[in-house]
Amino acid sequence: MTPPASIAIAEAGPAPTRERPPASVYGPFAWVRANLFNGIFSTIVTLVLGVAIAWALYGFLKWGVANAIWSVPTTATGALDPTACRAAHGTGACWAAINDKWRFMLFGRFPYDQQWRAGICIALFIGLFYVSSDRRFWRKELAYIWAATLAVIFTLMWGGVFGLSYVPQDEWGGLPITLILATFGLALAFPLSVLVALGRRSTALPAVKTLCIVYVELIRGVPLIALLFMANVMFPLFMPVGLNPDKLLRAQVAIILFAAAYLAEVVRGGLQALPKGQAEAADALGLTYWQKTLKITLPQALRLVIPPLVNTFIGFFKDTSLVLTIGILDLLTASKTAMADPVWQGVSTEIYIVVAMVYVAFCYTMSSYSRSIERKLDRARNR
């Protein structure tokens, strides 16, 4: 409930001394009265929902905190003894399983003593997102930062240099895989999608236009899972024996192609929404096609489509979990594999909760960032 920007500016000046407004119109009490107990119907709804929420919260806390098993003893042979967890099954959460499995969930089959490398990669990815989100860094140098960070990330993941042991791609897993697939998928799909959107609207190049339409319609007409299967199951059959691009790379290419087709339609929607006068004015000024596109139409079009773009981004971040069908251990698959451990049989809710929290953290950050950037870029409209 922040006040609109105009009011904030008006209040910023030297405030004249004035009396505090009465508590009945300003302050938390007034807010509660105005928003929660505003009339009989509203009061009933508030009470009913309040009781329901309290009841659910009580149940969750009882299960997740009060009755929860936080650690289990180790048997004489060094194995974990999950008897306590099995006894508490249904009444209390078994966080001991997370305690045992969190590293596998986050890093998959990455060699155990080398997992700090994958951990640094996650931190680097988050740092990269943070830096890229700040408008002060939107300069040419950002491209170098990206290139350098990605180089560091892949050096850490692969190793084989600077005394780091070599880790084949098959052993990568968990959150780094999800981040790699999502980051590269979107970072490469986005430029491709802009080109496809421009191509699809092109009037001067009918062949390119047809190609773009065929590409978009073909990819959109097929489920992502089918594309992943094609990349994983059919593609190797066409290649000579021994000449096989890596499984992860094949999945990555499939995701890029799929994301680009969807993003292209979003971008095209933005281009469609611009009044024709903008392009005509640019033409009248004698700008070339690329000048017109890069300086006039595209910036305005992209600004218009931030919400659907972010919507698609969030969708794809989660869709990367479909690689489980082709045996790549991303965050969700690694967690499901952790669940299969007979020691922790029956412990699935706890693991799903942790995975959901990781996904929510990333997706919520994306959506709240999109809201803030919409506000910043839309100042021109909201004056």
Binding site: H89, F104, R109, F229, G242, K247, T325, Q345
Partner: protein, 340 residues
């Protein structure tokens, strides 16, 4: 015409000249590839407890994983030189056909259809499994024959589903299937009493029963209604490789028969028993005839263990009885031809 002939001749001689350079002494493309690479790429499920499942440290554990290690120990002399490729039920055969993996040990049932039509062959069986039924003791049923009209929880699209309907048709009984895809959900449904019996591979049923706190409330019915021999799969057409994979399995069974284990294998090198001496490469040229080192079987037994050790480490801990998976001398089905 002349030019064409000369050209063809040149090409042919170039090919002939290239051939000896490419051909390796082993005569097996897969063996050469594995040796050149220095690692064995082995396709596993990566999600089946007891067969292949990464532990909390990410290390692949299970009888399938150890079967891969056997082959790596025999071929490369180091059981750890295995790259485990996680395959799904859909892509496992393609991965093998396309050469992405050298060997598939993914609890895959040996059937005529698969061997005859997929260009693959089964080099050995590391687990004789079969479809079984798990019921609550409170139900009072002692045999599957008493289960007319029962509701049975089963995963859709599996061979289990087919096996049950065949079994009920043959025995002229009726049942109501409750089809649930997700493993955790199907187990919860059975525990909650939504179905009278839970049916899947008997190994999985035994594991499930063993991990319940009240395991004595459950009964695994004696009937095993289908045959599911699970084993090693290789590509057709590479007979040398087939031999290596098959005999790396036989070596572990032979070792168990003769009580050679990872603990006593070094003492056994001094054994006077000619069978043991041949197995461990002290005598004869068994390894050489396979295209391997003389110590091939010694390396398997020393680094991975004999068949019984592998079994105990991976399957016994799940609470699954040995049953027909004992060696033949103890009444089971695992039988190795003589190593001589």
């Amino acid at each position: 015409m002349f030019r064409l002939t000369v050209g063809a001749g040149l090409l042919a001689s170039a090919l002939l000249a290239a051939l000896p350079a490419m051909a390796q002494p082993s005569g097996s493309a897969t063996l050469d590839a594995v040796k050149a690479r220095g690692t064995l790429i082995c396709g596993v499920a990566g999600a089946v407890p007891g067969f292949s499942l990464p532990d909390s440290q990410g290390i692949m554990r299970g009888i399938d994983a150890d079967s891969c290690r056997n082959v790596a120990a025999a071929v490369l002399g180091d059981a750890n030189k295995v790259k485990f490729a996680v395959t799904t039920t859909q892509n496992r055969f393609t991965a093998l056909q396309s050469g992405e993996i050298d060997l598939l040990v993914r609890s895959t049932t040996w059937t005529l259809g698969r061997e005859a039509s997929l260009g693959l062959e089964f080099a050995g069986v590391n687990y004789y499994d079969g479809t079984g039924f798990l019921v609550k003791k409170a139900l009072g049923v002692k045999s599957a024959k008493e289960m007319d009209g029962a509701t049975i929880c089963v995963q859709p699209g599996t061979s289990t589903e087919l096996a049950i309907s065949d079994y009920y048709r043959v025995n002229k009984m009726k049942f109501t299937p409750i089809l649930i895809q997700d493993l955790a959900e199907i187990q919860a449904a059975f525990l909650a009493g939504r179905c009278d019996a839970y049916s899947t591979d008997s190994s999985a049923l035994a594991t499930f029963r063993a991990t319940q706190t009240n395991k004595d409330d459950f009964l695994l019915l004696p009937e095993i209604i289908s045959k599911e021999p699970l084993g090693y799969v290789v590509r057709k057409g590479d007979d040398k490789w087939f031999d290596i994979v098959r005999w790396s399995y036989f070596a572990t069974v032979a070792a168990e028969e003769m009580d050679v284990s990872s603990k006593n294998v070094d003492e056994m090198l001094a054994s006077t028993n000619p069978d043991i001496r041949r197995l461990l490469g002290v005598e004869g040229e068994m390894g050489k005839s396979l295209g391997l080192d003389a110590k091939w079987a010694y390396n398997i037994i020393k680094q991975v263990g004999n068949f019984g050790e592998t079994w105990d480490r991976n399957i016994t801990v799940l609470g699954v009885p040995r049953g027909i998976n004992a060696v033949w001398t103890k009444g089971g089905l695992h039988y190795a031809p003589p190593i001589r």
